[in-house]
């Protein structure tokens, strides 16, 4: 047990050296050229910043899909001359319900809806809808797998859009990740007041251009004519405008959007540029409707509805109506980043100011130093020389723990600092077990060498048993915990692993070196 070959001894010291090397990057700032620089990251609770957990509104995804399907069905039936009495989306049941005029046209109707019912990517892929009902009743049910695929796509796309929006605000080092099925976690270091970000992320920013139905009276109180919708003006919910629901140009066909000032009026505007498809559509609709108003709709509100003075064929246009520079900049940012496929709701929010973060770091550091010293004094007093071996191992343990935490790029939180301290307190348990064992063996009349051998050997099983059980509890905490608590589970788990090495192998090597050089006749126990 006490014999170490040169190679083995070198390996043990080498492991400690690697630990030291891995710790080093934490003391220098990361180089700019983006080479891997493993470092412990400070959690938001120590660094200050905001954490947002947002939920993607899946009902809205389904509603949107059903709504567009209703439009599609209407167009398909018109093309194939199929009469219908009823056509409505039932969001609760995930269905589109159709009442046919003539039951004999049923097969023709299904054929007309071919594009909805046949898998878009050939056989084997998923069809969006299942058909059911009989006679004049035709029911399209959004299939579960299609819904699932759509939801997954919506979350992935949302994350992308959220990232683009946050990146364009210039926040340094944001973290955006999916959590669970339909949640997005955003961490914003250094942002103490997340209101502006929340506002940016809270809008779906779906922009569309519509013609205005000038014959309808939107503020008269009656229902909107078929194919029209009454939408409020932005900032003036009582003033409604009747727009034609058909989308003339979609905001998705933009290539650029920049905030600027109108040289004539001095008001804030957003200058937009369309891609080739958008430019063509925009040119077509403006040349056909000179003299008529053209509504710009963002998230079911009309931003403005200017009258088309002449055909716009250059592919660029101007959106007026922004209240100030900030509003224009935000709108340009949202249009550049693209629309969210579904609304996001903030369901959890935390922000920590930099003062509190600094306080926490100080509190953690003081606790660590004091706790470390208390443990070291206790071990020295209770176990003498072997206690000091344990203390040296403890320092090695701390270094290796930091090294591994840097290597995996772990996030250090305040509970994580507590975890480090508790690990140190529990790490000496292994040394205590060994020392007590050695002492018993000495009492039983064994020679120093035999006592050391037997002590290490017998304590080993106990050390493994007791550490594995502690490990189990913390792995569970890691799996089910979240946020700072997870940081705690990580440090303790890493700590248990390093403890097994330093307390048994490293301390044993120190003991062996000492024994070989001194050849003591009695052990200091």
């Amino acid at each position: 047990m006490l014999y170490f070959s040169r190679l083995k001894a070198a390996a043990v010291f080498g492991a400690c050296l690697i630990g030291i090397l891995l710790c080093l990057p934490n003391f220098w700032p990361a180089p700019k050229n983006g080479m891997p620089w493993p470092q412990i990251h400070l959690g938001l609770d120590l660094r200050g910043g905001s954490f947002l957990l947002m939920q993607v509104d899946m009902d809205a995804v389904a509603k949107e899909k059903l709504g567009s399907t209703v439009d599609q069905v209407r167009q398909d039936f018109r093309k194939s001359n199929i009469g219908y009495t009823r056509l409505a989306a039932d969001v609760a049941a995930n269905q589109v319900q159709i009442g046919l005029l003539d039951p004999t046209q049923r097969q023709a109707a299904i054929t007309a809806l071919n594009d909805l019912l046949v898998p878009p990517n050939g056989p084997g892929s998923l069809a969006d809808f299942d058909v059911s009902g009989d006679g004049t009743n035709l029911i399209l049910t959004l299939s579960k797998p299609a819904m699932q695929a759509r939801a997954t796509a919506a979350v992935t796309q949302s994350i992308e859009i959220v990232r683009r929006r946050i990146d364009s605000t210039g926040i340094v080092d944001p973290q955006i990740a999916q959590q669970g099925d339909n949640r997005i976690m955003v961490q914003l270091p250094g942002i103490t007041d997340p209101q502006h970000i929340k506002k940016l992320l809270g809008e779906t920013a779906h922009m569309t251009f519509h013609l205005v139905d000038e014959s309808a009276n939107a503020n008269g109180g009656g229902p909107a004519p078929i194919g029209d919708a009454f939408l409020p003006m932005q900032g003036d919910p009582n003033n409604k405008i009747a727009i034609q629901q058909a989308v003339m140009v979609d905001g998705a066909d933009l290539t650029n959007a920049q905030a600027g000032q109108d040289p004539q009026t001095g008001g804030w505007v957003v200058n937009i540029t369309f891609d080739s498809l958008g430019s063509r559509q925009f040119a077509d609709v403006t040349s056909a409707n000179v003299g008529h108003p053209f509504a710009i709709v963002l998230d079911n509100e009309v931003i403005s509805a200017p009258v088309i003075r002449e055909a716009i064929t250059g592919g660029s246009a101007q959106i007026s109506g922004s209240a100030n520079a900030q509003a224009a900049t935000d709108l340009a940012l949202l249009l550049r980043a693209g629309a969210l496929p579904a609304p996001l709701t903030v369901i959890e929010e935390q922000s920590v100011g930099p003062e509190l973060g600094a306080d926490s770091i100080r509190a953690g550091a003081i606790s660590l130093i004091v706790g470390f010293l208390l443990v070291i004094f206790f071990m020295a007093g209770a176990y003498g020389l072997f206690g000091w071996f344990a203390n040296i191992s403890l320092v090695a343990n701390l270094i290796m723990m930091m090294g591994i935490l840097s290597l995996i790029g772990a996030t250090l939180t305040l509970p994580g600092m507590a975890g480090i301290l508790l690990t140190l307190g529990m790490a000496v348990d292994a040394n205590i077990l060994i020392n007590e064992r050695v002492r018993e063996e000495v009492k039983n009349g064994r020679s120093p060498l035999q006592a050391l051998e037997a002590g290490y050997k017998r304590a080993y099983g106990t050390i493994i048993d007791s550490n594995v059980t502690a490990l189990l509890a913390h792995v569970m905490l890691f799996i089910f915990g979240s946020g700072p608590v997870r940081g705690f589970a990580v440090t303790i788990t890493v700590g248990i692993v390093t403890t097994l090495f330093t307390a048994t192998v490293f301390a044993r090597l120190l003991t062996s070196r000492w024994y070989v050089s001194r050849r003591p006749t009695a052990l200091p126990v």
Partner: protein, 324 residues
């Protein structure tokens, strides 16, 4: 040099032979009463759930001058926030403001904005140190996950000990752990500490630590069962506890010393965690001696003894297990 070489003290003098098993009924009774009382406290008045598990808003604020609570309360009520709870935080003019869960994100934002307005009215120059808002759906999920972590940990510990020892040991350990946990919950109710995710972490740490303690004592019992085949179980358990007493108290001491500075210097968020840890260390250490061991004595009076004596009809698997 001698200071560094020889130990200066021993926690338990050599040759200590305390007859712990004499107090087994007293120990179990006290423990059972405390745990039952804790279960009672769990139902009434019940745990004070933290924001993680209940939802709502918590803001920590530093005021320029010492805050006047009545004035602040009146201002908050004046801003349509009658449900706001106030709590002083360790000195330094710090106040914690708590709001109940709101119906949706907009309402939450509006409420937070009104707190800001009320603060500016009563105490200009205040600094909001931190804000947390947790929606009801998240808190319910966090609570479920917290309980899941606790339950699964217990189950895994049961299975591990069962594999490594005889089943009596596993049952003894898990029953003792359950008694430990109930007492910790009772402690949380009495001290009115908030039960949140950090507390679950504290309880799990105590759980891991306490199991560790029991495993060491059990390990020694198992060893002695093999060594002294004819010693009555009661004496054997006493002997095992006495032999490991120095280690049991020594490790409790080091963990206690490590957790102590956290309770003193750790600041509001980690103090509560450390206090529960300290409580758990004391409970876990005493339960190893006064609860886990007597349970083993009751469960194993006949079986463990018989198993260790070589018998004709012995299950070969068990011989193998013991040989390890």
């Amino acid at each position: 040099m001698r200071f560094f070489y020889r130990p200066l003290f021993r926690l338990v003098p050599d040759g200590t032979r305390i007859k712990f098993m004499r107090g087994r009924f007293a120990g179990l009774m006290v423990s059972a009463v405390l745990s039952l009382a804790s279960i009672g406290l769990f139902f009434y008045p019940g745990l004070r759930l933290g924001i993680d598990f209940k939802g709502g808003v918590v803001m920590e604020v530093r005021t320029a001058q010492p805050a006047s609570f009545p004035a602040l309360r009146a201002a908050l009520a004046g801003h349509d926030l009658p449900d706001a709870g106030l709590q002083a935080l360790g000195g330094k003019n710090e106040v914690m403001i708590r709001l109940e869960s709101r119906a949706n994100a907009q309402a939450t934002d509006a409420a937070v904005a009104r707190v800001h307005a009320a603060l500016d009215q009563v105490s200009p120059g205040n600094q909001v140190l931190s804000t947390s808002a947790v929606g009801a759906s998240v808190s319910a999920q966090l609570f479920r996950q917290g309980l899941m972590a606790l339950g699964l940990s217990l189950l895994m510990i049961l299975i591990y000990i069962w594999f490594r020892f005889e089943w009596q040991f596993a049952v003894g350990a898990v029953v003792t752990l359950l008694l430990d946990i109930t007492k910790t919950i009772g402690f949380l109710v009495i001290t009115r500490l908030q039960f949140d995710l950090v507390m679950v972490a504290a309880i799990l740490t105590v759980l891991g630590y306490s199991t560790n303690d029991k495993v060491v004592v059990y390990d020694r019992m198992r060893e002695n069962l093999r060594k002294y085949k004819s010693m009555p179980l009661r004496e054997l358990i006493d002997m095992s506890i006495n032999e490991t007493l120095n280690r049991t108290l020594g490790t409790s001491m080091t963990v206690f010393l490590a957790a102590l500075p956290l309770a003193i210097f750790g600041g509001s968020s980690i103090e509560d965690f450390a206090i529960v840890m300290l409580f758990g260390i004391v409970v876990g250490t005493s339960s190893s001696i006064f609860i886990a061991a007597p349970i083993l004595l009751f469960l194993g009076e006949k079986r463990l003894r018989r198993d260790t004596r070589p018998a004709k009809s012995e299950d070969p698997k068990k011989v193998q297990a013991r040989a390890r």
